[in-house]
C-alpha cells in the first residue's frame, strides 16, 4: 500500500463511488501539482537565464557577468577536461572533496554536540535557565568573526575552517532541538506515560520523535550555513577548497571561473542537502509519520 492509499484507506466511501475513483483522482491531482510545479519552476529558471543573458550582452558586461552559456560550458569543461594550464592547483574534484570533508566535519561535530544539548535544554528547565543566557550571549557573534580567533587557536589549516563551520551551524541546530523538545504537547507526553513509557523509553519513543521535525529544520538550515561558511573560511585560512578557488579566480579577474565555482557550490550544497537531510527525513518523519505536536 503506497502513501496515498494509506491516506485514503480509512475514509468512508460514499455510495455510488468505488474506492478506486478516489485513488485515481488523488493520483491525478498529485500529478497535476507536480507538473505545475515543474512548469512554473522551469519558467522561473528560464526567465532568470534570459535576464542574465540580456544583462550580460546588452550592458556589455561579458567580463564582469559572463553569459550563462559561457558559464555552463566552463562548468562542463572544468568537470570533464583536464587542463594543463589550470591555475588553481589540484583539479576541481580535489577542491570539492576537501571542501565537502571540512563542511561535513564541522556540520557533524556541531550536530553531535548541539542536538543532545538542545534536547536537554528543552526538557530540563533548571539546566535551560543556567545555560541559555550564555548561549544567547554568544549566538549573535557572526560566524566570520570567529575566523581570526580560529586561526589563533588552531593555526592556518583545516582545523580553523572546521571550527568556524562548527561555530556557525551549532546555534541553529541547538535552538531548533531545544524548541522542539520544549514545545512537545503535554498530552503527547501523558499519552506516552499512560502506555507505561518512562525515562529513556519516554525519551526515545515520545520526546525524540516529536522533536524530529524541528531537528530536521535545524539540520536543513545548518547545512546551508555550513556551505556558506566553508567558502568564507577557505578564503582566509586554506590553500585548497572551493573558497580558495573563488578567491584565486577573483585575483585572476576570471569571472567565468568565479561563477563556475559558485555554481558548483550550489550544486554540491543542494545534492548534500537532498542526500543527507532528505535521507534523515525519509527515515524519521516519513517513516514514523511524525506531525509537530
Amino acid at each position: 500500500m503506497n502513501r496515498i492509499e494509506r491516506i485514503v484507506a480509512p475514509y468512508h466511501v460514499p455510495s455510488g463511488y468505488a474506492r478506486g475513483d478516489f485513488l485515481q483522482r488523488a493520483k491525478q491531482r498529485n500529478r497535476r501539482i507536480r507538473l505545475r510545479r515543474l512548469w512554473r519552476g522551469s519558467v522561473g529558471i528560464l526567465a532568470m537565464l534570459l535576464i542574465w543573458q540580456a544583462a550580460s550582452q546588452i550592458l556589455g558586461l561579458e567580463l564582469l557577468l559572463p553569459e550563462p552559456l559561457t558559464v555552463l560550458r566552463n562548468v562542463v569543461t572544468t568537470l570533464t577536461v583536464s587542463d594543463p594550464h589550470w591555475l588553481y592547483g589540484p583539479n576541481i574534484y580535489v577542491h570539492l572533496w576537501h571542501s565537502f570533508l571540512r563542511a561535513m566535519a564541522g556540520f557533524v561535530s556541531a550536530a553531535v554536540a548541539a542536538i543532545p544539548l538542545g534536547l536537554v535544554l528543552g526538557r530540563i528547565t533548571t539546566v535551560r535557565e543556567f545555560v541559555m543566557p550564555c548561549i544567547q550571549g554568544v549566538y549573535p557573534i557572526p560566524g566570520i568573526a570567529w575566523i581570526p580567533m580560529a586561526i589563533l587557536w588552531f593555526g592556518l589549516g583545516d582545523a580553523a575552517v572546521i571550527f568556524v563551520v562548527f561555530a556557525t551551524v551549532f546555534f541553529p541546530l541547538l535552538f531548533n532541538a531545544e524548541a522542539g523538545a520544549r514545545l512537545i504537547s503535554p498530552t503527547v507526553l501523558d499519552a506516552g506515560r499512560c502506555f507505561g513509557a518512562r525515562g529513556v523509553t519516554l525519551f526515545f519513543r515520545v520526546v525524540l520523535p516529536a522533536t524530529v521535525p524541528y531537528i530536521i529544520t535545524g539540520l536543513r538550515i545548518s547545512l546551508g550555513g555550513a556551505w556558506r561558511m566553508i567558502v568564507a573560511g577557505e578564503m582566509l585560512a586554506s590553500q585548497d577548497g572551493i573558497g580558495y578557488l573563488l578567491m584565486e579566480s577573483r585575483f585572476q579577474f576570471r569571472a567565468v571561473d568565479l561563477m563556475t565555482a559558485m555554481i558548483l557550490v550550489a550544486i554540491v550544497g543542494y545534492a548534500t542537502e537532498k542526500l543527507i537531510v532528505g535521507t534523515i527525513e525519509k527515515r524519521t518523519i516519513e517513516k514514523w509519520e511524525v506531525q509537530p505536536s
Partner: protein, 336 residues
Amino acid sequence: MKRRSVLGIPATVTLTALRSARGYAADRIRVGMLKPNIVTVIYWIAVKTNSFVKNGLDVVERPFPSGQTSVGVEEVLRGDIDFCLGATGEVAHVDSRYVEAGKPPPVALFEGGVVGGTFFCLRDNLRGKTLDELRRMKLRIGLSNPSSYHLILFRAFLRTKNLTTDDFQWQFLTIGGTEMLPAMVSHQLDGFMHDALTATLAQRAKAAFVFMSSDRGDMGAQARSLPGTGVYSSRAFMGAHPDVTKRFAQALRDASAAYSATPRPEMVAIMAEWSRVDPAVIDDLYDRFDPRVGMTPQAAQIWWDILGSAMVARGEISPKLKFTDVFDLSYLQPRS
C-alpha cells in the same frame, strides 16, 4: 528684449564667477591605495610634502586593506577611483581578460617604483639549507594573496632554473601581511614572501632570516631594478584628463625628490605614520627600502620580460597581451 538683458546680466556674472573659481580650484581626484602598507608610502610623502597641492590636485583618499590588491583595479574599472597605487600583476590580469575577449585593454600602468622590494624569509632553523634541499621539505609559506607579486617574481626566478612551484613540496598559504609575523612566531608558517617591512619586523623579532631578496640580487640581477608597485588608471580617464594624469605622475616624482632631500628622521616619522609601525622599525628598514617612483621604459621592459613572461608561461595572462597593453608611459614626459 529688455527682459532678456535683465536675466542675462546675473547669468553672465554667475558664469564668469564660476569660470574664475574653477581656474583657481585644484582638480579633485580620487586615489586608491593599499593602506596601511609601506609600499604605497610615496602617496603619504606626497601629501605631507604638499606635492599634490603644488601640482594643483585635491586628493580624496580611498584606501583598501593590505592583501586586497585586486580591489584597486576593480575600483578603477568601475570608475570609483581615478588613480591607484598598488600591485602590478592585477593590471596585467584585467587587461589580459579584455584582450582575450577581443576588447581593448582598459587599464594601464603609467608610473611605478619600489624596486628590490621582495623578501623571502624563512624560520631560523632552516638557515644554511639550499633551495634544492628546501624544495623537498614540506614548508608552509605565507603570501598576502594567491596572485602575489612576490610569488610571481619567485616563479619567474624558478623559470630560470627550469623549475616551477609544482616541483616544491611547499604549501602556499594566504595570510595578511600583518599576520605573517604572529604566524611565524606561533609556528604556523615556516616562511613568507612579502615586503621589506614584514621582513624587518620578523628579523627584529628573531623569528626569521632573509633567505632571498630581490634587492640583493638573489632572484636575478634584473630583478633588482624591477618596479614592484604600480601607479595605474583607466585608459578612458587618462585619455580624457591627460593633464591631470601628468600632474599626478609629477606629484609622485616631486614626492620622490622630496624623499631624497628630506632628513632621515623626518622621513622616518612620515613613513611610520603611514605604515602604523614603530619609527625604530622604519629606521631599521630605511637602508633596504626605497619608496620612490621613477618608472623608465627600461624598468617597464624588465617588468614585462620577467613578470610578464612568467605569467604567460603559467597561463595567468594571454600570450596575445602586448607590452603596450599593460604600460602607457606617455604621461611621464615633462610638462610643457
